[in-house]
């Protein structure tokens, strides 16, 4: 069964304390892996798309990496405004002539203390 597992479920860091969030996936034929940020009461906001193992993307204090089994979202010297839930999603073939499926993980709730 295709699965996306994010860890940890929640993470509290001091401002400036770097860390990494993990997204492990088991799907047949990964098409793409997406990272989103979600603030309370809002819809997810797109951060990155990764397509193949070894690929890396950066945006401000965030850096996403991808291997054949997992992705990491590295946060360098975070600030309180980085506090949010970070969601990982994968896109994989359904099989046959059906469109691809998109599966989200449950997210990691990140809280940065000032």
């Amino acid at each position: 069964e295709d699965q996306v597992t994010q860890s940890p479920e929640a993470l509290r860091l001091q401002e400036g304390e770097s860390s990494s969030l993990n997204c492990s996936y088991t799907v047949s034929g990964l098409r793409g892996l997406f990272w989103y940020r979600q603030d309370p009461g809002k819809g997810p906001e797109f951060l990155f798309t990764l397509y193949s193992a070894g690929e890396e993307k950066e945006k401000e204090r965030l850096k996403a990496t991808l291997t054949k089994k997992e992705s990491f979202l590295h946060i360098t010297a975070p600030k309180p405004e980085d506090s949010a839930t970070y969601l990982c999603a994968v896109q994989a073939p359904f099989g046959g002539n059906r469109d691809d499926k998109i599966i989200f993980g449950k997210g990691t709730r990140l809280h940065i203390l000032p």
């Binding site: 969601l87 896109q91 359904f94 469109d99 998109i102």
Partner: protein
């Protein structure tokens, strides 16, 4: 518009009532997705439109759920005879291309509470 909008933002329904949730995607976006997000969970796929065609409705939990996008722009998700387990945030997302590989832009969601 500047982004994806959804209405209403909050909806309280009595069990057994029908509800209709609206999504206005970004103008020109071909693809439109509906997701259901329970508290503390990630979004779960419900259905996908490419223009007015509903290409995938495999995620709709029961035949009480129905979605349409008759003119290829605005979409409505209808839930008939609501049940308590339908309580969740319903998210709409749109993307420019014809596949989900493209960045999806999400609306703020409609929080449905069924009493």
């Amino acid at each position: 518009g500047a982004g994806v909008s959804q209405s209403p933002r909050y909806k309280v329904a009595k069990r057994g009532q029908d509800v209709a949730l609206r999504c206005d995607p970004i103008s020109g976006h071909v693809s439109l997705f509906w997701y259901q997000q329970a508290l503390g969970q990630g979004p779960e796929f419900l259905t996908y439109f490419q223009n007015e065609a509903q290409l995938d409705k495999s995620g709709l939990p029961s035949d009480r759920f129905f979605a349409e996008r008759p003119e290829g722009s605005v979409s409505t998700l209808k839930i008939q005879r609501t049940q308590q387990e339908d309580s969740a945030v319903y998210l709409c997302a749109s993307s420019q291309g014809t596949s989900g590989y493209n960045e999806q832009f999400f609306g703020p969601g409609t929080r449905l509470t069924v009493l």
